[in-house]
């Protein structure tokens, strides 16, 4: 006995001290280290903080859509910095060109994750407890509840109670039948919609899961881009990619060396509309026919299309771009081949006016570098110079200038599409103007000063492939779908308590066992504008199962 009282008084004093703390904020400095931590934790996990963090997250994401972002288009960032010399460096310093990997953005979402965990854990505990909690007691007077109904039914009280039980069962309510002292059932207390809270918890938990899955994908995933002229192939090794982005935990030596050969590229362009339409010449379809091969496996012929990737070694290969790779042969004055290769040119606009460079390091005494345009449908206007007027090969031509000198002045890596002309001089034509070569397929053009000749053999297309490994992708998708399920549960279910009481109807003073007075009452947790409708439906279903009112 004493033990029990002791415990009780201890509990009371604990409660009292808790109340005291809440009521006297002036005592906060006395909280001590752990007390402060607890206080901070409470603040961080309060609903109000979650609300502010959400709003701040929304505001913080906006600059990422206004300013060019390095991870999307670094050229635009460079241009922006060149155009805005005063504000640009400041924006750069504060991470405005890398918003989504900046420390301040990370701080916001990390705080949100902590706040989320802080709200999920105690709520889960509470939910588990609620699952075992008994069904609430019957209130004495149902007409004091927020909603109540009353009606008389032509059936015995027991039949009505039976009907009410089957309706509640169909609605998946938990319920308890209360009996009188003599053991006659007379009332039902029911509770439903507890899955609403479960759904809400599922939603918030899945949000955390999705964030973790995305982070995991970033850490161990990688993404390589490579341009492959039709007729050629590539093997997936780190050095073969034109660009390769790897997560911090990726060991690039361990990539599975599968290989893909691009047999041919089919591209169609819109030509069925007037040439003034903005849609004229827009791409309509890209298909790359490829042969894919895993190490130690037989090669397999397949296609890669837009919206239709190739799956190989848990890695996906996407067709994201296309263009022309003129096959060019450069010979020296003696006719020896110095260079013979498909050289990809990069399209600059919808009509595939493409730029590129042909570097001939084997030329002597000076190295040679051609640069200029490839035009699939060439047109020469006095105002715009050489341009292409349609993206297909209707009138293909290479328009090139020529430099001689040192192609790689400091030995550092450079773009294959441009020449570094620091240590080169431009070759002039016989008229003293910079040399301009116009070469059509099959033509060979002689270079001045006994530099040799250049031939345009053919114009195959190239395929721009993006190779991606992201193991976090599917977990993130499943997490998101589960979150959606939880959200729908928490938005559609209503947590309600319903009570049904029956009594023999008094007809002109005489209790009549064949007529029953039913009283039902209900209340909801939180906002529930449809509670009245719910009660009406319940009553209607009971009536329908028992007979006439």
């Amino acid at each position: 006995m004493t033990n029990a009282t002791d415990r009780k008084s201890a509990a009371q004093s604990a409660k009292a001290s808790k109340r005291e703390r809440r009521e006297s904020p002036a005592q906060q400095p006395k909280l001590g280290f752990f007390g402060t931590l607890r206080w901070l934790w409470r603040q961080l996990t309060s609903m109000r903080t979650a609300l502010f963090l959400l709003l701040i997250l929304a505001v913080a994401a906006v600059p990422g859509s206004i300013f060019p972002q390095t991870n999307i288009d670094s050229t635009r960032v460079t241009n922006y910095l060149a155009e805005h010399r005063t504000i640009g460096p400041w924006l750069d310093r504060f991470g405005f060109f890398n918003v989504f990997s900046s420390p301040w953005f990370a701080a916001i979402y990390l705080l949100l994750v902590i706040s989320l965990l802080g709200c999920i854990i105690p709520r889960t505990r509470k939910q588990v407890r609620a699952l075992h909690a008994p069904i609430p007691k019957m209130p004495r007077r149902l007409d004091r509840l927020p909603e109540h109904r009353e009606c008389t039914i032509d059936a015995s009280p027991q039949d009505v109670l039976q009907a009410a039980q089957s309706v509640l069962r169909a609605k998946r309510y938990r319920f308890r039948v209360d009996t009188t002292a003599e053991g006659v059932p007379q009332a039902i207390a029911a509770e439903g919609g507890r899955l609403r809270e479960a759904g809400n918890l599922l939603f918030h938990t899945c949000l955390v899961f999705v964030i973790i899955a995305v982070a995991y994908g970033h850490l161990v995933g990688w993404n390589g881009q490579v341009i492959v002229p039709a007729g050629q192939g590539f093997t997936s090794t780190a050095s073969r990619y034109d660009t390769l982005d790897t997560g911090p935990l990726v060991n690039i030596a361990n990539l599975t060396p599968f290989s893909i050969n691009v047999n041919h590229m089919d591209v169609t362009f819109e030509h069925d509309v007037p040439s003034t339409s903005p849609q004229y010449g827009q791409p309509r379809d890209f298909v790359a026919s490829v042969t894919a091969k895993l190490p130690n496996m037989a090669p397999k012929a397949t296609t890669i299309e837009v919206n239709h990737a190739l799956d190989i070694a848990s890695t996906e290969v996407y067709l994201l771009g296309n263009g022309y790779a003129p096959k060019v042969t450069v010979r020296n004055a003696k006719g020896q081949i110095l260079y013979a290769d498909e050289t990809p040119f990069l399209p600059q606009n919808n009509n595939y006016t493409s730029v590129g460079a042909i570097k001939v390091p084997g030329a002597s005494p000076k190295q040679l570098g051609f640069f200029g345009f490839f035009l699939p449908t060439a047109s020469f206007s006095s105002t715009q110079g050489p341009t292409s007027t349609f993206p297909a090969l209707n009138n293909p031509a290479l328009v090139l200038g020529l430099y001689e000198g040192n192609l790689f002045p400091d030995g550092s890596p450079q773009s294959v599409y441009t020449l570094d002309t620091q240590q080169m001089t431009q070759v002039k034509g016989s008229d003293g103007q910079p040399l301009r070569l116009l070469i059509r397929p099959g033509q060979t053009v002689k270079l001045p000063d006994k530099l040799g000749s250049i031939t345009l053999d053919s114009v195959p297309r190239w395929a721009g492939l993006s190779v991606r490994y992201d193991p976090g992708k599917m977990p993130a998708l499943y997490g998101a779908l589960l979150a959606l399920l939880g959200l729908i549960m928490s938005m559609t279910l209503r947590r309600r308590r319903l009570f049904v009481k029956v009594a023999a109807a008094a007809d002109e003073g005489e209790p009549d066992d064949r007529r029953t007075l039913v009283t039902i009452g209900g209340l909801s947790k939180g906002e529930d504008p449809r509670l009245p409708v719910g009660l009406d439906n319940l009553l209607e279903s009971i009536v329908k199962r028992t007979g006439k009112p």
């Binding site: 609903m47 009353e150 009606c151 993404n223 837009v306 994201l320 959606l484 938005m491 906002e527």
Partner: protein
């Protein structure tokens, strides 16, 4: 190539028809707007007449109070409480409510205008031979169609004639924008847009934007109603209420709850939009999330409406403060649609403008 050419002519004819439907719909809905306006403006007079009748009926009821008691006693005593001053039995109390002729005309015209809008979308789809959801023009037309469908569907279940003006007016505005500013010639789409996910993603996005638009109208009405309720005493003191026609609409708390109800419906749809968009991005661009401006704004909208839902559950943030967040959410939708599509550089820049 001859077949292609004739196809082209046929498609052009279909497309022209679809534009005619758009213009007719805008004209019809403008008339609907006027009718709803007249209906609202007529409210004070209607209300005065109703009060008169009410007074008369009260007198009559007093006279027959005894008879009334007997009647309800026999009725079994189902206690359905109703706050609206309505006669206990329409057969007894005479006309329950005056027929609102102009509101009826407004609804009929809305049905016609809505039907014409559906015809616009169907003919456009037929002329381009794909779901018409590939550029801003098509997107806006389908969006307004969803707004009308949602409103008309709702009107079958509830008397929402008071909302008519505030749904039809933005619809007409967007239709005019469609016809004059956004218009894009019919044509096939870029390869990356050829995907069932496009249809799913954009259809659901459009549907939820339609719902968010209705919720926005309700929120605006909520603010006006709240302002009137706050000013009411002051105005009474100055000699009578103003903006009496607004009395024909629900009270501010009902408007607040209704707009919350619509947002609750739209939010999961927007969540789905986000997921379906990521799936499509994964298929088309090889990455489900690239922080493209359009993606960023879709996320921002989602986060702002999540904040709204939280605000409604947070003490001290209910009512006005939460409603401000809902307005901010809709502002983000407008930015996403009007500004991001046209001015921001990203992978989604295929608006056709």
């Amino acid at each position: 190539m001859i077949t292609a050419a004739t196809d082209h002519v046929a498609n052009a004819a279909l497309n022209t028809a679809s534009i005619h439907f758009l213009w007719s719909s805008a004209a019809v809905l403008t008339l609907a707007m006027l009718a709803f306006g007249i209906d609202l403006a007529g409210f004070p007079a209607r209300d005065a007449r109703a009060k008169e009748r009410e007074a008369e009926r009260a007198k009559a009821l007093e006279n027959s109070a005894v008879a009334q008691k007997v009647a309800t006693g026999a009725g079994g005593g189902t206690a359905v409480l109703d706050s609206a001053p309505r006669p206990a039995n329409p057969a007894e109390g005479g006309d329950a409510e005056e027929k609102r002729k102009w509101a009826g005309i407004g609804m009929s015209l809305s049905w016609l205008g809505g039907l014409l809008l559906v015809a616009n979308v169907v003919f456009r789809a037929w002329s381009v031979d794909r779901p018409p959801l590939a550029n801003m023009y098509e997107f806006a037309a389908v969006g307004t169609m969803f707004v009308m469908v949602a409103f008309l569907g709702w009107s079958l279940r509830k008397d929402v004639r008071w909302l008519g003006l505030f749904v039809v007016a933005p619809v007409v505005l967007v239709e005019m924008l469609c016809a004059v500013v956004f218009y894009t010639a019919a044509s096939s789409v870029l390869p990356s847009l050829k995907s069932p996910w496009l249809m799913i993603h954009v259809t659901v996005a459009t549907l939820s934007i339609a719902l968010f638009t209705i919720a926005f109208s309700l929120t605006i009405l909520y603010f006006i109603q709240l302002w009137r309720e706050e000013k009411d005493e002051e105005w009474q003191a100055e000699g009578g209420a103003r903006f009496r026609f607004m009395d024909s609409m629900p009270k501010s708390d009902v408007l607040d709850r209704t707009s919350y109800g619509v947002i609750i419906l739209a939010f999961p749809l927007w969540t789905f939009t986000l997921i379906a968009g990521s799936i499509w991005a994964q298929k088309a661009w090889g990455s489900y999330w690239t922080w493209d401006p359009k993606e960023v704004w879709t996320l921002v909208i989602w986060v702002v409406y999540a904040a709204y839902l939280h605000a409604r559950l947070t003490a001290g943030w209910t009512g006005k403060k939460a409603a401000y967040i809902a307005l901010a959410g809709f502002a983000c939708i407008l930015v996403n649609y009007m500004i991001v599509n046209v001015f921001f550089v990203g992978m989604h820049s295929y608006s056709g403008m």
